[in-house]
Symmetry: C2
Subunit: 345 residues, 2 copies
């Protein structure tokens, strides 16, 4: 050991007058070492300021104590919240987190999955189910454990920490219909490569059909998740001959974008049109009126994902998916259909 480079296990061993094997044991399974020996080793470790070399450790043990998360973008508050909870739970277990993002691009997802696996991730957090079979094959072939968050499919062999987007959206649409709305439109997230967005559309369609309404009359427009796109889609919807009396949005960002646009074009929410969202993020609480939406327990989802992923990594025998409950939070943006609503022709 010269002063240029960090002290190694061998330096500690020499300093303590023991073998490297003993130092290694002291660090990894201290109970297998005599207290006096342990004492000496610990002292040497502290005196030298030793910390294990990561590469050496990873190579010899074939583990990294690192897991990866690959999400669409941290700029959407739902992923930021879920990821924050996920990270905290991992840190508590001494595991560190690698983060990559896809921008909702499936090619970039495949690429980032390879990058994180190549970087030695012991496990992976993925969002949703929509990805090429080749990606699943890759994961299986490399036997990298993974947990899928935000979604749920029964008995397909994957491990989920998610919720049922379709049922949740259906319940929301039923609530809207139950309030007398018949002219309903939906501003959905882009469904291409996004099973959550697609499931929410399907759920709304379920409700419309179950209510005996004409599914064709319920128009669904898709928009990228942003305030501006939500606003534009809303404006276009309201310019039609048959404007809706209620607009169901694929998430809160779209819904709040719609509400902001409504003010701009002189429409009053909920008098002229009701609006509902999905997620229950901060945005929903600060708009006027506040937004009726589906509450998703993002933090609990992140925690559950961490728990499941660590179990999978540790070879736990049967790891069960965690399905989280969502519920509707009613606020001012949704009211019963009445004459006050701008006539839907």
């Amino acid at each position: 050991m010269n002063e240029r480079s960090a002290p190694t296990l061998a330096d500690v061993a020499q300093h303590a007058g023991v073998s490297t094997a003993t130092v290694s044991r002291c660090l990894n399974s201290p109970e297998r070492v005599l207290p006096e020996t342990r004492q000496r080793v610990i002292q040497a470790v502290e005196q030298l300021g030793y910390t294990p070399n990561f590469g050496g450790w990873a190579l010899a043990s074939n583990r990294t104590n690192t897991v990866g998360a690959i999400i669409p973008t941290m700029e959407n508050a739902i992923f930021a919240r879920g990821l924050q909870a996920f990270q905290e739970a991992l840190a508590a277990a001494g595991v560190t987190l690698l983060v990559a993002s896809t921008g909702y691009d499936p090619d970039r997802e495949a690429e980032q999955i390879k990058a994180l696996v190549g970087r030695g991730a012991d496990g992976l957090l993925l969002i949703g189910t929509a990805r090429p079979q080749a990606t699943y094959d890759f994961l299986r072939q490399r036997s990298v454990p993974y947990v899928i968050a935000w979604s749920h499919r029964a008995n397909d062999g994957n491990c989920y920490a998610g919720f049922d987007n379709r049922n949740a959206a259906r319940a929301l649409a039923e609530r809207v219909i139950g309030y007398g709305h018949r002219a309903i439109a939906m501003i959905a997230g882009e469904t291409q490569g996004n099973d959550r967005a697609a499931d929410r559309v399907a759920g709304v369609r379920d409700a419309v059909t179950a209510a005996g309404m004409d599914a064709g009359a319920t128009s669904v427009v898709e928009a990228p998740y942003s305030l501006e796109e939500g606003g534009d889609a809303f404006a276009a919807l309201m310019r039609r001959n048959n404007p809706p009396s209620a607009v169901i949005c694929g998430n809160d960002v779209l819904a709040v974008g719609a509400m902001t646009k409504a003010r701009e074009i002189g429409l009053s929410i909920p008098r002229d049109v009701s609006i509902v969202g999905f997620d229950d993020i901060d945005l929903a609480l600060v708009v006027q009126p506040q937004l009726t939406t589906v509450h998703v327990p993002h933090r609990r989802m992140g925690e559950a994902a961490a728990r499941l992923l660590l179990q999978l990594r540790d070879g736990h025998p049967n790891v069960e998916s965690t399905i989280l409950e969502t519920h509707i939070v009613e606020r001012g943006s949704l009211i019963r259909y009445a004459r006050q609503h701008r006539e839907a022709v």
Copy 2:
């Protein structure tokens, strides 16, 4: 190579009929290998589905192509945005990102810094300057390059990708004062261990003093960064005998919390009281009226931080800090002081 474990460099070498050194060169500096040889090796790599073992690579090369970011929390949109841009810039350079969070706790920061360095981070992104000297010593001793974002100090030997919080806050307060407000209060973030929050308070005090106003008359209350805390602080402020005609908030979350609370307690913004924030996040655009605030280029800050950190890591000779410009965005929440403002006694 058996079917259980991943193929190694040696497997590829044997398959291609070359030495492991040649395979290694093919992967790392292909120009140093004859095209025909390269061809054979690449073919073998593909046939075997070879990817380098991370531990072996890290150990031999003493690098990980990984950098770490340690931030207060991803749940604050400013960090989520900055981190997202940081990650994208890193990914473009083939570098992966480790993320840890501190919850604004200095002890947890020190701990996470050690964890990420121990996990082989080639460099670190840190937020702000407020941390024990011991932490700086540790970083220097381990010669881990780091960049500090969100702040700036001239010539202290650190590399910054930040902005001048004090000047920005001063300019904001000057604007408020220029609008005739004399009864000004500030809802600041907690300044303990947060130099950005402390600098913003100092900037507001600078402006108050420069305007010849009584600094003592400008009350500053501190609150953790949350909508609710901002609201509570605002309510307490307005309950006083001398309520302010303008409230300067340490960030947009506090400001929007204050605005939401104002509605609850029957105060009209900006008629009864003006409110301004700091950051310019989405929240500022969706409240009614929209929030006057200081625009901070979070994405550009994240990109700059990535660029600087990679230069530092690559031993670039003189890496200069990047100081970003901020500017005030005037919206409806701030108006000129007038009789309409609730009398400040």
